[in-house]
């Protein structure tokens, strides 16, 4: 893959992550799902970029490393925002007496991987 093409995937992933965070509305299920869709698409783009790096198609540069670190920072920010929602609703669910969710070793709710495309999980 040409380096420019691979880097375009990285840039598109970054744009998707930013868009997902910008439109995130914890109280609106449609927008939560839409954000998740954008993040899943970003994940696919990142996997393409990762494959290109693995194949040695993308020459490592300080600028590229800096971009990846910036994307990572944005993902960390998004994770904190979403984790706050998970924690809020976990507490809420416990409060209304629902059966507590069972988590697997990866920290996900067991027996469900809702709406995750196989290629994202791959």
């Amino acid at each position: 893959m040409a380096p420019d093409t691979a880097i375009a995937h990285l840039e598109r992933a970054r744009s998707g992550i930013r868009q997902a965070l910008a439109q995130w509305d914890a109280a609106d299920l449609e927008r939560v799902e839409s954000s998740r869709g954008l993040l899943a698409a970003a994940s696919r783009d990142l996997r393409v970029f990762e494959s290109a790096v693995r194949a040695g198609d993308v020459p490592p540069t300080a600028e590229l490393r800096s971009t990846i670190l910036a994307v990572k920072q944005e993902v960390v920010q998004a994770t904190r925002v979403v984790d706050a929602c998970v924690a809020f609703y976990r507490g809420l669910a416990a409060r209304i007496g629902g059966a507590p969710p069972v988590y697997n070793a990866e920290g996900h709710i067991a027996d469900e991987s809702p709406g995750l495309e196989p290629e994202v999980l791959a």
């Binding site: 993902v75 979403v82 507490g91 629902g98 969710p101 469900e112 991987s113 995750l116």
Partner: protein, 480 residues
Amino acid sequence: MPNILASLSSAGNALDVFEQALTVVQNNVDNSSTPGYATQTLNLEAQPLVTTGGLTGGVAAQGLQDSRDDYAEEQVQQQTQTLGLYTAQAQATGTIQSFFDVSGTGGVPAALNNLLSAFSAWSVTPDDATAQQTVLSSAQALASSINGLANSLSSTAQQFDTQIGSTVSQVDSIATQIQQYNEQVGQSTTPDPGAEANLYSALDNLSQLTNFTTVTQSDGTVTVMLGGGTPLVIGDQLNALSASDAVADNPPATYPNSPPSAVITDSQGDDVTSQITSGQLGGLLDTRNQVLGSLLGNSQQQGSLNQFAQTLADTVNQILESGTVSTTAGAASGTALFTYTAGDPTGVAASLALNPAITPSQLAPVDSSGNANGNANQLADLGSTGNTAGSIGGMNLVQFLAQMSGTVGQENQTATTNQATQQQIAAQATTLRDQVSGVSLDEQATDVLQFQRAYQATAQVLTVLNDVLDDTMNMMTVTT
């Protein structure tokens, strides 16, 4: 006839109840922007209807119910406390960072570079009076620059102390409002939405300032406790806080003459500083005691600025005093270039000065082996990579200085990033609170599960993103 009168009476009562309900609605509208106000609902209860027994039915008011959800309120308070912490840290570390020149073109880094350059020029012409004078004037400028930085940081510590004092006064003022609410609740038999709005508004304000938890007692009063469990308000009792400065003695002070730290005590005089870990006060205390303490020193550490100043002075003095002013037999030994107040390791940066007794001709370029410019070369090399003379923790003086300002910059960057993220999280907590308040969660259990799954799925995608980025970054590291 009695039945007709009873029916008329019942209808009249119902009109009264509906009037009350309308009043409640009107009150909700009037208070839609009142801080802390929660929408009220008048509970209505159908009255028994027995047509043959004289019971004419109708409706009765059964008191007010508010839409507040305690769990959601607590979440908002916690997120607001964290936002207060990061906001104060970002502002306070920003102030400290402004004293450090990261470009190296000004402040202490530039003054150090000038001195090293002066040593370098002197090593080429050790007997040149101009080169000798340049060393002295550069040393004077570096000492002044370090003094200036120490003084600026000390002044900042005083400014933070003032802000901490003012924040503590605000905490006490809000605690007094809560105490008054408790007194009012103790005297009242029915819930007062207005007073409750004031209480929650006060708690919202308090959460910007400090971390705390609340417990509503069976008599309706609210107990407010600091993070570590020390009560701030219990019923009508107020445990007011106060701020002061002190050199901590527990554990025993390693540096008893160090600059004092900010201390918060309760009305019994107990130190509760460590219990305040969040809110604006937590952020100010952290920056004042930890960040500034790491630079200026405190009871347990010398402080990196003092460490730098002392190592600089000791290393330069030791090199110069080990040599002689010329290669001539019997030439005078070298004289120390710097002085500082002995016996106070945490005051070195503030007291560092050019040795008032030294003259240009007393500089000693000759090392102990008799090399004509051996000492001058050693001094010029103090900033070189791999140089071990004057090293602190494996870093030479230039590297240590760069790390010091880098650490401050990193503190500020982290706090600023945290603040930006926390703003979104705090706003989100408010949105979620509004979403669940006034809703029967039992009836909405399906929705709760749906949201929970949607969040969890999003979190899972983010985990994948994180992993892919880590893998990619690792590959970039290996190949560079």
